[in-house]
Amino acid sequence: MCLAFPGKVVEVVGDFAKIDFGGGTTRSDINISHTDAVKDDYVLVHAGYAIQVLDLVEATNVLAYWQDHTQWKCERCDISEECPTGMLVKEIVNLSHKQSKGDAISVGEIKNIGIRGF
């Protein structure tokens, strides 16, 4: 029963809080005594109880980190600049890098990419 939903604390009354789960769903009988949630925090709610205050700064950081670190680059030879066509198609980056090192490129390799006209 790992089922839990994130929601926003709208109002706190003693141990209980009114939580907005989005989409017009609110519940006012959520027990938040396990956490130190205050108004406007986002909490995880499991079976009527808040179990954690969500760290939104962390969430933003994780997303930003992975947006950066999933930009495609050729890992085997550490090419970091984008490919000349401005497209992040990995085969093209690989091939253009191979070419810049003076290696021969076979016709089959180019055909495999599926570029129109070849």
Binding site: H34, L56, V62, K90
Partner: protein, 387 residues
Amino acid sequence: MVLEGFRDPELAKKISEKIQLYVTDIGEDLIFMHVCGSHEWTMSHYGIRSLLPQNIEVRAGPGCPVCITPGTDIDNAVKLAMEGKVILTYGDMSRSKGSNGLSLLDTRPNGTDIRIVYSIHDAVMRARKEPGREFVFFAVGFDTTAPLTAYEILNNLPNNMTFIVSYRYMPPLVGAILKSSVLGIDGVINAGHSATITGMKPYFPYFLETRKPQVFCGFEPIDILLGILLLLQQIKEKKPKLQNEYTRSVTWEGNTDAQNKLDKVFELVDGYVRGVAVIPGCGFAFKDKYMHLDAYKKYSLRRDEHNDQFIHGARCGEVILGLCDPPECPLYMKECTPHNPKGPTMISLEGSCRIWAEHRLIESIKCRSSFPSSKGSLSSAYSDTAS
């Protein structure tokens, strides 16, 4: 809202490309396991398995609380219901069948009083309203749910309420999965909400013992893709870690407030996980001070775990353990459907069969030719850990 970023299709595409790249570098077949019904739902709902390369397989482990609740506990709850006690429980639990094929709801025509509750607080309010009747709360779940019960027990419980405690502790279960030589798992995606309470700490001994990659993972599609990516990264760099992807919720210590309440009321004992085995330190039992709340003590019930069985012909046990996919069960979508469920994995909303059926998955996604055969009893999967 920030959390919507965790469903970004562009980022998902980029991550799956990176996964592809890592897998090419590793060049081996890999088997991962997640241990949460909600993870299985996200994987099926967003089609994450179709984004993964052929040689990665992510299996659903024992992560559904209804599926792993022992049949003997259900039998005892049925017995108490027939004796005229009011049984309070969660919705799915009331439909799950015990070892003699009878669920709590099946007894309703006999005049039993079964009440479905949303939370333990709900249950306490109902017991307080009718002081003349005896109430039994059928408490199922993992360490996410147990502290909530502990909280209500510490906050003046009504006298007419007892508990059938069937809570299970996740870290030893994950440890058993990692140690099992039959499952042969290369890495585990840990349940984020369970670890929100326990923290990463209790998983550390099992990590030291096995040195297998573990990632604590959230429940959005990006979370799961990142979890798989981090596992692959650890394998590629040959540096297994206990890594946290769900940083917005999981911490090293966990929710200490909830843990303190848990420690006051419960202690860890050996626990039987249905379809798996008896795992040391996996179950919760009341401490001596609260022993009077135990329905097993009060009504002198007996645990009869070795007689536990699923419906004849079904492969529920293997599905729970991740040894086979739901479509490999001969009853799947034939005799056993979401409208007329037979086994616990089809009954529970978090069970693998139910999730696969609701997403119209009727074929096994991967061929398991390289997979070791699952001959013999299921308990043999953990024979190496039990000793």
